[in-house]
């Protein structure tokens, strides 16, 4: 059963094709990372899911309903943290948390207090007095204290310091352990690697890659660095090998993940002295994807 299921979603803003045949699935209980550069359509997709934007075409199912038609009843079951939190200048953070929580149908008073303590957030300051990070904490506490089925988080930690980032990751793990579904749009690779079961990469309004981190890694290349007794002179012709460079007795190259076995076998004939292979980090996956996209 999918908590979110989007097929062929299109959204135009004037002549800008913001979402271009976007497909996205989030299974119930999973944490899905939505990765993409600025302007790729992450926020637009989320705003369609929240019923704030009307899709121009496509099928969208959110918790079994239509986000545009069944807005109010669906919103009872989800909580949302925007990337750029704007608070009411005349309200305190505590008032904003209570208001948003009550609008969602009530919040867990104990959990609210625990979260305030964990995030070191003073709820009696007025909206203006909070820094960007503290405004985000207000939205995070309001969302997490509501005990909903689905959390939609749009770059929720871009203003948090590393200590608070760690607290945030702990909280999301705890939510996930309780069976909640999380859609996390993020720029922070370590956060996605630590939290997400699956990742979807979005570029120019289209999902270009989806899968678990292992699956995604499999689609790309490992980097190999070795010191050898003899240098192979036909390295460039080995199947799956790219970007080969030699420097004295040292050779470095990238190899397609499914060709790594044959490359190692061939390499062993040249007397391996040292060998380092690295799976691609999410960051490299990301950069490779979007660099390739640019070209």
């Amino acid at each position: 059963m999918n908590a979110i299921s989007i097929r062929d979603l299109n959204k135009w803003f004037g002549s800008t094709h913001a979402l271009d045949d976007l497909d996205l699935d989030v299974a119930e209980g999973e944490v899905l990372g939505l990765l993409g550069p600025n302007g790729a359509g992450k926020s637009s997709a989320i705003r369609v899911l929240l019923g704030l934007l009307r899709a121009d075409s496509g099928q969208i199912e959110l918790l079994g309903g239509d986000p545009w038609r069944d807005t109010a009843s669906l919103h009872q079951r989800l909580a949302y943290v925007p990337g750029d939190v704007s608070l009411w200048p005349q309200l305190t953070g505590g008032e904003a948390i209570d208001l948003l929580g009550r609008l969602r149908g009530g919040l867990d008073e104990n959990k609210r207090q625990v979260l305030l303590d964990r995030f070191h957030l003073d709820p009696s300051k007025k909206g203006r007095a909070y820094s960007k990070g503290n405004r985000q904490k207000v939205a995070i506490v309001a969302a997490l204290a509501s005990n909903v089925e689905l959390l939609i988080l749009d770059e929720p930690t871009s203003g948090l310091d590393p200590v608070m980032e760690a607290v945030f990751q702990d909280c999301i793990k705890a939510e996930s352990a309780e069976g909640r579904t999380v859609l996390l749009s993020s720029h922070i690779m370590s956060e996605v690697e630590a939290l997400c079961d699956r990742v979807s990469m979005i570029r120019a309004g289209h999902i270009v890659e989806s899968g678990t981190l292992t699956e995604l890694r499999h689609l790309t290349r490992n980097s190999v660095s070795a010191t050898l007794d003899r240098m192979p002179d036909d390295l460039g012709t080995w199947s799956g090998v790219h970007d080969e460079r030699t420097d004295g007795s040292r050779v470095t190259f990238d190899v397609d993940s499914d060709q790594i076995g044959s490359a190692m076998a061939a390499l062993s004939g040249y007397g391996i002295q040292t060998l380092v292979t690295q799976p691609p980090s999410l960051e490299e996956l990301f950069l490779r994807h979007y660099d390739r996209g640019e070209q």
């Binding site: 109010a72 200048p89 008032e95 609008l103 009696s124 203006r128 939609i152």
Partner: protein
């Protein structure tokens, strides 16, 4: 003052579309008045009659100060000194707030301040830009008038009075932005000062015993200049001095506060929301309450001022030699009350429009988004604003009618209290049409909210100048206020009111349908 040149250029560039529009609108007032005088009043007899009509109309005296319509220059001053002065003052206030407090609110000032920019640069640059805009408006108006063959001295003096009104209010706004913690508060403060100067001037001009009161008002000085007839220089000097003093005070106060903070530091509030703050409407009420109170109190004070002078209009007009044109005090009074109640109604519509538009600004400032991601529906969310826009505007005009009626009775006016209040209440039908336009815009054309303000301005011009300019019923009928029955004159017709309510209802419906269907920013 480091970086003054760059900041001034930046401010000017940001306003390169807006300010020319303001300046053009201001210049158009005197130039069109001078150009149309001969067409409107071709014969000496008609000119004398216009002079008598306007001179004996206490409402116009209240709104625009003393006038002399027997010459084209005098007519130009009547049409543009007070009215143009108000526009220049508004332009100056909005310009100064936009480039000081609003920049601090958005955090842009912080970014720029970290570069080589002095502490006072923003204030001085904003004051300079606002003053230059006023000078441009006044200068172009003077050149235009001279080009049309107006007396050079009169043209220059009128231009100078407009320009310096801008300088004075740029100075006042420069002080207000130090006190208000947010751009919205600072603007309200400065508009409050503008409203108070207007009332003080109007009070002084329509009373024999309190004539000195207009000398206490910056707008009083604008009117005291009387270009083309008296060409007084003293008020011009007063304005120049006041503007400079305002800037100096603003600078001194700015030195006593931190960037982004007001002089009075914000206090902490409650860590928990009250029971009231549990619904979308609870939030809207919290946000709208200060606006409703300040507009309500402002209009009630205006009602007191209007009411207090209404009983003794015969004295001041009789003294100026026009009294004989009418049978007695009662006529002055009914003309006066009918016009001024419409003006209060237009102001109440201004409140209603800004209350409806507030929903749109909550949206553009991304505060609607988290609310609409909760079960709060768009209709309930927007509906909360409409309760204040429609209900609040009705309440505000009713309150003004009550204080006006009470003050009129206390100061010996003849109109019965109940008729005054009924007339004020009847304005609601016309007010709601204008508020309906704003509502429809929020739902259907949210990028074109300015249309609501243009509609308000057209209504004002038609209501005040329309009858004098002989525009004919069709044109005058564009103003919804034209169709409100004359209860003070003893007429009451329900039908036109019902039609107005119907139009307002349809506009509101259009807005509600629109907000349900469109994308939320």
């Amino acid at each position: 003052m480091a970086g003054f040149g760059q900041i001034l250029r930046l401010d000017a560039r940001l306003d390169r579309v807006r300010l020319p529009f303001w300046i053009l609108a201001i210049v158009a007032l005197p130039v069109s008045a001078f150009a149309s005088y001969e067409t409107l009043f071709p014969t000496a007899e008609q000119q004398a009659r216009a002079n008598l009509t306007v001179g004996s109309n206490p409402a116009l005296l209240f709104l625009f100060g003393p006038s002399d319509l027997s010459t084209a220059g005098g007519f130009t001053t009547f049409r543009s000194a007070m009215f143009g002065g108000l526009f220049v003052a508004l332009m100056a206030i909005l310009t100064v707030v936009r480039h000081t407090r609003a920049e601090e609110d958005s955090g842009r000032a912080e970014l720029v301040s970290s570069a080589r920019v002095g502490r006072y640069t923003f204030l001085v640059a904003a004051f300079t830009l606002a003053s230059l805009a006023g000078i441009a408006a006044g200068g172009l108006a003077a050149l235009g008038l001279i080009g049309l063959g107006a007396d050079t001295t009169g043209s220059v003096v009128l231009g100078a009075s407009l320009a310096l009104t801008g300088v004075v209010f740029a100075g006042i706004a420069g002080i207000c932005v130090q006190f208000g913690a947010y751009a919205r508060t600072a603007t309200s403060l400065a508009l409050g000062v503008l409203g108070a100067s207007f009332l003080l001037r109007a009070w002084g001009d329509t009373s024999t015993s309190l004539a000195w009161a207009s000398w206490l008002s910056p707008l009083g000085w604008t009117v005291k200049v009387q270009a083309f007839s008296e060409d007084n220089v003293l008020p011009l000097l007063l304005m120049l001095a006041a503007g400079t003093a305002g800037l100096a005070l603003g600078i001194a106060l700015r030195g006593r506060r931190d960037l982004g903070m007001s002089l009075i530091p914000p206090r902490d509030g409650s860590p928990h929301a009250s029971r009231f703050l549990s619904t979308g409407f609870g939030l809207t009420a919290r946000l709208q309450r200060p606006g409703l109170i300040s507009w309500g109190v402002g209009l009630m004070i205006a009602g007191i001022v209007v009411g207090s002078v209404s009983g003794s209009l015969g004295d001041v007009l009789g003294e100026s030699g026009f009294g004989s044109a009418f049978a007695g005090g009662g006529d002055f009074e009914s003309i006066f009350l009918a016009t001024l109640v419409s003006v209060l109604g237009i102001l109440a519509a201004g409140y209603g429009i800004q209350a409806a538009i507030r929903a749109r600004s909550e949206e553009t400032e991304y505060r609607a988004e988290p609310l609409l991601a909760t079960p709060l529906t768009r209709l309930r969310w927007f509906g909360g604003y409409l309760v204040f826009a429609f209900g609040g505007s009705a309440l505000v005009v009713f309150g003004a009618g009550v204080t006006l009626g009470l003050a009129a009775r206390a100061f010996g006016a003849e109109a019965p209290f109940s008729d005054v209040v009924a007339t004020a209440a009847a304005q609601t039908a016309a007010i709601w049409v204008l508020v309906g336009i704003a509502t429809a815009l929020v739902g259907l054309l949210p990028r074109a909210m300015f249309i609501a303000w243009i509609a308000l301005a057209i209504t004002f011009v038609l209501t005040i100048f329309g009858p004098l300019l002989d525009l004919g019923d069709t044109v005058l009928g564009i103003s919804p206020f034209r169709h409100i029955p004359d209860i003070l004159g003893g007429d009451f017709e329900a039908q036109p009111m019902l039609i107005l309510f119907g139009i307002a209802g349809l506009l509101m419906l259009a807005g509600l349908v629109g907000i349900r269907r469109r994308d939320i920013q």
